[in-house]
């Protein structure tokens, strides 16, 4: 399984053609206490860059863009009751949604973990 990162601070795990998407530890740190996450419904189709989810802290709401094109297979329902999971385990239990990848080629331009780390340090 390989993990990719975007400049919008999302991570993508690829398992076969199913991609799991979440926000990075850096992003949750910037947002502060997460109070609500709106995840997409099953079957929803996204093009790369579409607004896919919303993550809210007390004083801010941020859109999460789909880093790749595909069809949603599952939103993380655990976040409905416990949005704090995004703060506690952003790159694990706090994932946002899974989608069936349409074009694996879209992953090519994305960063790996070490490149993302350098990217964050440069901010």
């Amino acid at each position: 399984m390989s993990r990719y990162f975007t400049e919008d601070h999302e991570w993508i795990d690829l398992d076969g053609d199913i991609a799991t998407v979440g926000i990075t530890d850096y992003a949750q740190g910037q947002l502060g206490d997460i109070v609500f996450v709106e995840t997409p419904e099953d079957g929803k189709q996204f093009a790369k860059g579409d607004e896919a989810a919303v993550v809210e802290s007390v004083k801010a709401a941020s859109d999460v863009y789909s880093p790749v094109s595909g069809t949603v297979t599952e939103g993380n329902s655990a976040l409905d009751d416990n949005p704090a999971l995004v703060n506690e385990d952003p790159e694990g239990e706090g994932w946002f949604f899974k989608l069936e990848l349409r074009d694996a080629g879209e992953l090519d331009g994305l960063m790996d973990e070490s490149k993302y780390k350098k990217f964050v340090e440069s901010l």
């Binding site: 609500f36 709106e38 809210e56 802290s57 004083k59 801010a60």
Partner: protein
């Protein structure tokens, strides 16, 4: 000028501090051409408190007030007795001259009041939650329609013919710009509300059905079948209550399955005020709360663990979400919500039930008496404190003629529905606890003579 504390010497000292020679230096960024030199056209110089009060009193005296004589107007605004306590408390400076509670540590008074208000409104409407108020019933109604669009992701709303025509007019105005599809109707002078017609129109594109309860003609009917029909098509039922006192006597829309209940809270604590400020009420089921417009107050604790209240779920609102907000509303009707809440606290359940019973009893007395007037026919037999009668001639001139005798007889349907000739003989009569036996007799006699 009595409201301006700076003295000429203060101004001189302050100008020196800021490094300006004259006040004009501080307006240096205003282009020469846009500066208004010389006095404002026609506006006289400042006036004493006595002079202004005299001017305003003279204007006030030109109006015939609801308290001047027999009074039977309703249709979205009702004359009820407002207890003296209400007006006393809302004039306390700590409520009157406070701002929106953005700093909760020093706004717990307003916040706790709003939490109590939200609870009172939710219980009265029979729904899970209510917000901290909207401008008025008509704008709350439109906001409910847009909320149903967001929830169902459909844009066709079916509006009952029994919905207040001004509310329909507001929705029509807005829908022209938002692209919502509204299905509207004109009421008919029948005994039953148009529930059956509405059920027949619901389809898979319908986002919501909007029904007024009691409706514009004062009629009431069970909403349960309508709610079921909406839910069968995954549409929402929006109920609009323009006379909240009614819910002290009749079932709440929430009990009958309405998903969103909005209304005009003016009846409780606010007074007539020629149409504003009024109080928009907005309640809904818990699962829809994140699509709600307007401010919400919620419970929490402070850093010492004491219970306290804050404005919450603010990410729905314009100051955070900007163009993606659920509504553009900012200022709402805070002080009117306070008036409502105080009046409701004074009433309590026992008082509200008595008040509602008194309204209904008076209305029944009036209906009975008016039915005996030749040329007056009661349209419906199920109502709360407002009913429609069909006169033997056009109602508008009759209302006009009675006003000259000091009787404000009701709202003619010709005023509300000028296009609908078939409604021209309709007169909507509201009868609240403020009406006396003598008032009813004066109305009956007046109608008898006008129709003779």
């Amino acid at each position: 000028m009595r409201y301006l504390p700076l003295t000429p010497s203060d101004r001189q000292a302050m100008l020196a501090k800021v490094g300006a020679k004259t006040i004009d230096d501080l307006f240096a960024d205003v282009p020469e051409a846009a500066r208004l030199d010389g006095p404002i056209r026609d506006l006289p110089p400042h006036a004493s408190e006595m002079a202004v009060e005299r001017h305003m009193s003279r204007l006030a005296a030109k109006n015939q007030t609801a308290g001047d004589g027999p009074f039977f107007l309703g249709c979205g605004a009702y004359k009820h007795h407002v207890p003296a306590t209400v007006d006393h408390i809302i004039q306390r400076g700590e409520f009157l001259t406070a701002y929106t509670p953005y700093q909760p540590e020093i706004a717990q008074g307003t916040l706790q009041m709003l939490f109590e208000f939200q609870t009172q409104v939710a219980r009265l409407f029979g729904v899970d939650v209510a917000n901290a108020s909207m401008y008025d019933g008509s704008t709350a109604c439109w906001e409910a329609i847009t909320m149903a669009r967001r929830v169902t992701k459909r844009a066709k709303a079916i509006l009952s013919g029994g919905l207040h025509p001004h509310y329909v007019s507001v929705a029509n105005t807005m829908a022209k710009f938002t692209g919502d599809h509204l299905v509207t109707a004109t009421p008919t002078l029948t005994a039953e509300p148009d529930t059956a017609d509405l059920i027949g129109q619901i389809d898979d594109d319908t986002s919501c059905v909007v029904v007024q309860y009691p409706d514009i003609l004062g009629r009431i009917g069970d909403l349960s079948d309508l709610a079921d029909a909406c839910h069968a098509k995954k549409a929402l039922l929006i109920a609009v209550v323009t006379e909240p006192v009614a819910l002290g006597a009749i079932k709440s829309p929430g009990e009958m399955g309405a998903d969103i209940v909005v209304g005009e809270g003016q009846s409780i604590g606010v007074g007539l005020q020629f149409g504003g400020p009024y109080l928009g009420l907005f309640g809904c089921s818990q699962k829809l709360v994140r699509q709600m417009p307007g401010r919400l107050c919620g419970e929490t604790t402070d850093s010492e663990g004491k219970r306290g209240f804050v404005l919450t779920l603010s990410t729905r609102e314009q100051h955070i979400r900007r163009e993606k907000a659920t509504s553009n509303i900012c200022t709402n009707s805070g002080l009117c919500a306070l008036a409502f809440s105080i009046h409701m606290t004074l009433l309590g359940e026992a008082g509200l039930r008595k008040l509602a019973a008194a309204n209904h009893a008076r209305a029944c007395q009036a209906a009975e008496r008016l039915s005996k007037v030749p040329g007056v026919e009661l349209v419906s037999d199920a109502f709360f404190n407002e009913f429609t009668v069909k006169l033997s001639q056009e109602a508008r001139p009759v209302v006009r003629a009675l006003a000259d005798r000091g009787v404000l007889a009701g709202v003619s349907l010709g005023r509300l529905f000028p296009e609908a000739a078939e409604l021209a003989n309709g007169l909507v009569v509201a009868v609240t606890e403020t009406v006396t036996d003598e008032d009813i007799e004066a109305l009956a006699t007046g109608l008898q003579e006008a129709l003779a």
